[in-house]
């Protein structure tokens, strides 16, 4: 509990996490609002259209929470004060994941709420399990992506490198893989952010997993990355 408080103080005593959180909410809710104004037939799924962009911003926030510590040397001060590095890093991961998850929920429900407010006539009630998953599920995806971002930050230790990896993989690499004939379509479901998307938007016919299976797969990937990061951090010179 103590270490969670430490990481909470660290995260909220600089400005950039606040900017990232506001940015993520502005992008997602702002987009949903514009969409609602322009379209009378806006759907629940459409209000969540900017989920990936908000997710990117939250992942940047999450990875910077680690890489700035390496950049400014405070990770050494941290390990000096808390020699059990795994505990210190798990506390950071937990705080970051909770904040990321909260931002995800606020972004998702904020987007839906804004659309409802601006287009009261549209069919925007959460009537099916799929609708609920598309909105409330955002928080889970954001939280797990936050864990991945922390892990990548620990492994790479550099802001530019970590941010590049976290933006290029979901936005570029995962889409380009789909262009490979035959093989692409087979690999794609196993790419992390395709799986996360499948959880939120629902799976197609013939998908290798159910929506919840897709989330479980995404969670396993996050856990594996985190495990690798913890092992490396423990062995490495700070």
């Amino acid at each position: 509990m103590n270490l969670l408080a430490v990481e909470r103080i660290k995260l909220f005593s600089t400005r950039s996490p606040w900017f990232c959180m506001i940015g993520a909410l502005g992008l997602t809710v702002g987009f949903a609002s514009i969409l609602a104004i322009k379209s009378e037939h806006v759907s629940v799924g459409a209000t969540q259209g900017m989920y990936l962009l908000g997710l990117m911003v939250v992942m940047v926030m999450s990875t910077l929470a680690v890489t700035t510590e390496y950049r400014f040397g405070t990770i050494r001060t941290t390990f000096q004060a808390v020699p059990r590095r795994t505990g210190a890093l798990l506390a950071k991961t937990t705080v970051v994941a909770l904040v990321a998850g909260l931002v995800g929920e606020v972004a998702a429900f904020g987007s839906l709420g804004a659309a409802k407010l601006l287009q009261p006539g549209a069919a925007l009630s959460l009537s099916t399990a799929a609708d609920w998953r598309a909105v409330a599920g955002s928080g889970l995806v954001y939280a797990l992506a936050g864990v991945m971002a922390v892990a990548v930050g620990v492994l790479v230790r550099q802001s530019a490198g970590a941010v590049a990896i976290l933006l290029v993989v979901p936005l570029l690499v995962e889409n380009l893989v789909g262009l490979i004939p035959d093989l692409g379509a087979k690999i794609q479901p196993w790419l992390p952010f395709q799986a996360a998307g499948a959880f939120l938007r629902g799976t197609h016919e013939g998908a290798p997993y159910s929506p919840w299976g897709a989330l479980a797969y995404f969670a396993v990937l996050a856990a594996v990355l985190l495990g690798a990061a913890l092992v490396v951090a423990k062995k490495r010179d700070a």
Binding site: K10, S13, T74, T77, Q80, A81, K235, D237, A238
Partner: protein, 299 residues
């Protein structure tokens, strides 16, 4: 007390620290002296559990640092004053640090007051001058009221006022019975601050002694002797076990005092034209000692 036993650190094929053993005792300032790159910072990082030793170990009062429950309450350290997030206030920096070791929040304001940063406590640490950053670093070291303190090159880049303040602080901490271990690459600095000296070069221990012993040993002088009867004098000196270098009518004699040489000359009826003790400077002696370690290190 800090005990370092057979400590070594290799990075690939280069050896930063090799088989280093020494003890740092409480109640005095112990200087850790060596040229830049001698392995002082690496040794300190290993003592603090930040770097993993390739061999040997370091103990704080008999316990490895990594096994200390609340390390900041036992050991305070300032390794690098720039290890602060520039956008975080000095107070917030100390606040999270205090929380790691369950130190009362009141300690933060106490140490800020102690180092004279109260007025700028809520300012971004990134805007601090080097002197202020150094004071913040010292505040973090003092936070847990530790018995053992490590400072890595604390006076580097400070103005004379800041240097005097840090010297006074370190001596005050030692007087309170704490263990104070401070590194420097400047012998002149150490000779003014430290009671005891641990000297390393190329990652190897050169000596551990009191400052006065080190100074006496390091500046062990030679005597310049000029005589019209050099050959006779030289024979007598060598017989006495002195080392003698001849340069024309001049001899440079080591191992005997000028008084002993004068008496020897009188006993042998040798005329002396000059009898001049040569005292090497402290810095010169230090350079000679550590340069020797360089040759030794690569063999």
């Amino acid at each position: 007390m800090i005990e370092v036993v057979g400590l070594g650190k290799r990075y690939g094929r280069t050896t930063a620290v090799r088989d280093l053993s020494f003890t740092v005792r409480p109640g005095r300032v112990t200087g850790f002296l060596g040229p830049n790159g001698a392995g002082k910072s690496t040794t300190m990082r290993m003592i603090l559990g930040l770097d993993r030793p390739s061999s040997g170990h370091a103990l704080i009062d008999g316990t490895p640092y990594r096994e200390l429950r609340h390390p900041l309450r036992k050991v305070g350290a300032l390794l690098d004053a720039r290890w602060v997030h520039p956008n975080r206030s000095a107070r917030d920096h100390l606040r999270w640090l205090a929380r790691t070791n369950r130190l009362p929040p009141g300690r933060v304001d106490e140490v800020l007051d102690q180092v004279g940063l109260t007025a700028v406590a809520r300012k971004r640490a990134g805007g601090f001058s080097l002197g202020m950053a150094q004071r913040l670093g010292i505040a973090s070291a003092l936070l847990g009221d530790p018995e053992v303190l490590l400072f890595d090159e604390p006076v580097n880049g400070l103005d004379p006022e800041g240097i005097a303040w840090i010297r006074g602080l370190m001596r005050g901490l030692a007087r309170q019975g704490r263990t104070v271990f401070v590194s420097s690459h400047l012998l002149s600095e150490m000779s003014q601050t430290a009671d005891e000296l641990i000297v390393i070069g190329q990652g190897k221990l050169i000596s551990q002694s009191t400052v006065s012993e080190f100074v006496a040993a390091a500046t062990e002088h030679t005597v310049r002797v000029r005589s019209p009867q050099v050959e006779r004098l030289q024979k007598a000196l060598v017989h006495k076990g002195a080392t003698v270098e001849q340069d024309g009518a001049t001899l440079v004699v080591g191992g005997l005092s000028s008084a002993e040489i004068g008496e020897l000359a009188a006993a042998h009826g040798v005329v002396l034209h000059e009898l001049n003790p040569q005292r090497g400077s402290l810095e010169e002696a230090y350079m000679r000692l550590t340069a020797g370690a360089v040759e030794f290190g690569t063999s």
